[in-house]
């Protein structure tokens, strides 16, 4: 007995702190060789200069928690949730560590260990589980905001200071919510839109949640440019939100439910491609297989599904697009959404589309691949870090630019906020909005 105790103590020390299924995998964290090349591209390390908040630090914390050398306490959870999941580290990592996947699975463990309470709990209950998975509720919220914007209620609310009940970050966002369209694209667009000219393939348009409520016109523009370039576009009504925000929050269970619906809906259409115009959703859709590592049936279905997901800019370049003839006499700069450049390696295609527009001048945005601080709902959960990063992004946008262009609704909201705070005369646009405008002008000019 005298010998048994130290062994037990030793054993208990080596029991993984990740006790739930779908944990960070050893084959992923053991790839890190601790070289540190990721430190200086990490926005949170740049701000805090604390290795706990660096990619190499986070991977080490996840590894030690997995090995039972650290408990799943604040020392692990705080850095894992302070991560923007922007994946800038993956771009520079010589060893190929999939930091995003490690962070997301570690968040899954934290979520299982400590179901969110307080503000995060409220956000999750109301939005991540309550609203986003349900299109009818999303639609209702959209309608309410539209009523709020158009009825004069907004003016009253703003004047009476009733908004002060909202947290500061949400109050700031209220100011920059775009004018909401009468209908979401998923309702407004026909279920099948035939291709113009020779057909190059059939593509399902993924309309998403935030994009469709706040930027329905971008979805419509996406459908138009796809059809214009020989794609038959399908808009299945049964599709739901992609689940990226749930994955980022660690709620993988809810994400799996939504993913299954989308996989079923898409595969039933037999379409060649799934078009997505939101970087964060695109990355999540392409990474669905990661959610079903322990599910052979849906694992295979998820792989079939993900193999056909394309960002709109990626697809247009892949199948070939016709250069528009309509002129747009503007100077624009392009911001690389993290989940386009780092997660999906899409950098040249959006620029290629923009350069094809006659008279449009594209000027370089310094450090264009650095996160703007939006990062899903990060700007609501970590407002201080998000706002520091937004300030840096705004500082970088060239004075000469008439518009800043990007491919993600989260970034669009965040940068709209930056423009609003600085009172700059600057449009915030999605890449396809400009392309669509050029095509429209071409039709008008002819």
């Amino acid at each position: 007995m005298a010998k048994a105790e130290p062994e037990l103590v030793q054993m208990s020390r080596h029991v993984s702190a990740f006790r739930w299924p779908d944990a960070p995998e050893e084959e992923k964290f053991s790839v890190c060789v601790h070289c540190g090349f990721c430190l200086d591209v990490c926005p949170t390390y740049q701000e805090l200069k604390d290795e706990n908040h660096s990619p190499r630090g986070r991977v080490l914390l996840i590894k030690e928690a997995a090995e039972g050398k650290l408990p799943l306490d604040e020392s692990v959870i705080d850095p894992v949730f302070t991560c923007l999941d922007c994946r800038a580290c993956e771009t520079v990592c010589p060893s190929g560590v999939q930091v995003g996947s490690l962070i997301e699975t570690a968040r899954g463990q934290a979520h299982a260990a400590y179901p969110p309470v307080g503000r995060a709990g409220t956000v999750e209950r109301i939005f991540l589980r309550g609203v986003f998975p349900h299109r009818s509720r999303l639609r209702a919220i959209g309608k309410f905001i539209r009523f709020y914007q158009r009825s004069g209620l907004r003016t009253v609310v703003r004047k009476t200071g009733a908004l002060s009940v909202l947290p500061h970050a949400a109050r700031e966002m209220e100011a920059v919510i775009p004018e909401i369209a009468a209908d979401m694209a998923v309702d407004a667009l026909p279920e099948r839109i035939p291709a113009r000219d020779a057909k190059k393939g059939t593509a399902v348009l993924f309309t998403g949640c935030v994009m469709d409520v706040f930027f329905a016109h971008v979805n419509e523009a996406t459908a138009r440019v796809a059809v214009r370039n020989g794609l038959e576009v399908l808009v299945p009504r049964e599709q739901v939100c992609c689940g990226a925000l749930q994955i980022h929050a660690g709620d993988r269970e809810q994400a799996r439910i939504m993913a299954k619906t989308n996989i079923d809906v898409f595969l039933a259409t037999g379409a060649d491609y799934l078009i997505i115009n939101a970087a964060g959703c695109g990355a999540a859709l392409k990474e669905y297989p990661d959610l079903f590592r322990d599910d052979p049936t849906y694992g295979q279905r998820a792989r079939d599904f993900s193999a056909r997901v394309r960002d709109i800019s990626e697809l247009l370049v892949e199948v070939g697009f016709e250069a528009p003839k309509g002129h747009i006499n503007k100077t624009v700069t392009y911001h690389d959404a993290c989940h386009l450049c780092h997660a999906q390696h899409i950098r040249s295609q959006p620029r290629q589309l923009l350069r094809a527009i006659p008279d449009l001048k594209l000027v370089e945005l310094p450090d264009s691949e650095r996160c703007c601080g939006s990062a899903g709902i990060y700007n609501l959960t970590h407002p201080d870090m998000a706002s520091a990063l937004l300030e840096r992004k705004m500082d970088d946008i060239p004075e000469t630019a008439d518009a800043v262009v990007m491919g993600n609704p989260g970034c669009m909201m965040q940068i709209r906020l930056g423009v609003h705070k600085r009172q700059r005369d600057l449009d915030v646009l999605h890449t396809v909005e400009l392309l669509d405008e050029a095509y429209q002008k071409e039709a008008a000019e002819q």
Partner: protein, 498 residues
């Protein structure tokens, strides 16, 4: 005896509440640097903002006899920033400002935490750059470069860090601040700056560093040459230098290194059957560069190169360089762990040394990839191992040591640019006689009498050597008594008889 509470309170008073990390679980990420074979927890991590705060922190620690060490980006490859003695780590990461630039006189004053490449980025718009370029330049700091006397690919032509640092504000281990070096002109009196550069944080902490900056060369040409045989590549290097051309850089990678890096994001597409690739860069005035590049290509051809080409665009050149500079980290693609060695040899012995390394690899069963600054004979054998296999870490350390001994045997040294740290401290004995080590210890004592500042790094204690030998003798004479501990002793006291 100072209590931890007192320490934390004092540190917070100097640098501010949020810049002191002391909770045990938050210190794990500071348990090692780029050298992962040893780990130790510091007692706290303190991040000062300026020279005054560094001096105040050091002064307090000195008064309370608490050991400490400086840390930059923590990318060092010899373990210089590992808190073997449970030190207080003084992190210089927040001190990352470019303080001033004097373009006319080619000088810049920087804080130690400024990242090497960031300095270049901040002055590149004006047509200037900072020449020393360690592979980790996108993340390593100038302070760390000073401590390690870092090298880099372009040091063949431009010299290593010590040739580019002209002055520094330096906090001595008792907290006193001195100025060393001369911003303009060379050292007057003893060259204290020369001593401080490369002292691996054992003599004090540089807090403001004056560096030379250079005008960017008018033209650059980069060639990529692939060889069927290492020997041909090696002969090419000697032949190029033999003709009087001094290329900005000549880098070599062997087959295993090429395989690793081709699996990474920085894929070049090397043919799988070539034995060596050379990356050769010439720079200078446009007219001469063109001509030099042609001669380099010609020399490659004379030495049986399979293919040689000049970079056609800046993108292509950048990819070739990334492929070379990311090679260490890319070794993670082919092995869970690795140790990077850093020997220097006379260039003419390259082929023979590589053969010897191949033999060591075969004998030990550990794969070794080779990446090196071929122009100045600085080898970086990457010893692949798996720390999860019991005993393999120790074996890798021993293999690393053997490789260094080969370097010393052919007239070279045990480090070109990564420093001695804890990794090569025992190999110092192979390089130097006891008297020579004693002399170095005397210098260290003059600066660091209580040995509070990064103890146990760089210079081995001769006394310990004697004790270890004696302990070994006693163990050998009493095998039966000590048999149970043998394995442990082999780990803690490696190689002094082997």
């Amino acid at each position: 005896m100072t209590s931890p509470v007192e320490l934390v309170r004092a540190m917070k008073e100097i640098v501010g509440e949020q810049h002191v990390i002391h909770e045990q679980n938050k210190l794990h990420v500071f348990s090692c640097d780029g050298y992962v074979a040893r780990q130790a927890l510091p007692r706290a991590v303190v991040s000062p903002a300026n020279t005054e705060e560094v001096a105040a922190v050091v002064k307090w620690l000195h008064e309370h006899q608490i050991p400490f060490l400086p840390r930059g980006a923590g990318t060092g490859l010899s373990g210089g920033a590992i808190a073997l003695n449970n030190e207080v780590v003084i992190s210089l990461a927040r001190m990352n400002q470019l303080l001033s630039v004097d373009f006319e006189n080619l000088r810049a004053v920087v804080q130690p935490g400024l990242v090497n490449l960031t300095l270049t980025k901040q002055i590149t718009g004006d047509g200037y750059y900072y020449a020393p370029d360690p592979s980790s330049q996108s993340v390593c700091t100038i302070g760390g470069n000073l401590a390690e006397n870092a090298g880099g690919s372009h040091c063949l032509k431009y010299g290593v860090t010590t040739n580019h640092i002209v002055a520094a504000k330096f906090v001595l281990p008792d907290g006193e601040v001195i100025d060393v070096g001369q911003p303009y002109g060379d050292a007057v009196g003893y060259d204290i700056l020369g001593l401080v550069v490369g002292s691996e944080g054992t003599l004090g902490i540089a807090t403001e560093i004056t560096v030379k900056i250079l005008k960017k060369p008018q033209a650059v040409q980069t060639a990529l040459a692939m060889f069927d045989r290492v020997e041909d590549a090696s002969n090419t290097v000697s032949a190029i230098i033999g003709t009087g051309i001094i290329p900005a850089a000549i880098e070599m990678m062997d087959q295993l290194a090429m395989q690793a890096v081709d699996k990474s994001n920085f894929h070049v597409g090397y043919p799988p059957d070539i034995e060596a690739v050379l990356l050769i860069e010439v720079d200078g005035l446009a007219a001469g560069v063109e001509e030099d590049a042609e001669r380099v290509v010609e020399i490659c051809r004379q030495n049986h190169v399979r293919t040689v080409k000049i970079a056609e665009s800046t993108d292509e050149r950048a990819l070739w360089w990334s492929s070379r500079k990311m090679a260490f980290g890319a070794t993670g693609r082919i092995s869970p762990d690795y140790i990077v060695q850093d020997g220097v040899i006379p260039r003419s012995r390259l082929t023979e040394v590589l053969q010897r390394i191949t033999e060591i690899s075969r004998e030990s069963g550990l794969r070794i990839a080779n990446v090196f600054h071929a122009g100045d004979g600085n080898l970086h054998p990457l010893i692949c191992y798996d720390s999860r296999v019991p005993g393999e870490t120790e074996k890798a350390i021993r293999v690393g040591s053997e490789v260094l001994h080969v370097c010393v045997d052919v007239g070279g040294t045990i480090t070109g640019e990564h420093g001695v740290g804890i990794e090569k401290i025992e190999d110092m004995r192979y390089q130097f006689r006891d008297e020579e080590i004693e002399a170095q210890i005397a210098i260290r004592r003059a600066f660091n009498p209580n040995d509070l500042c990064n103890a146990g790094k760089l210079i081995p204690e001769p006394a310990r050597c004697v004790e270890v030998k004696q302990a070994r003798r006693i163990i050998e004479q009493n095998v039966e008594v000590f048999s149970g501990f043998q394995e442990q002793t082999a780990v803690t006291a490696p190689d002094s008889t082997s």
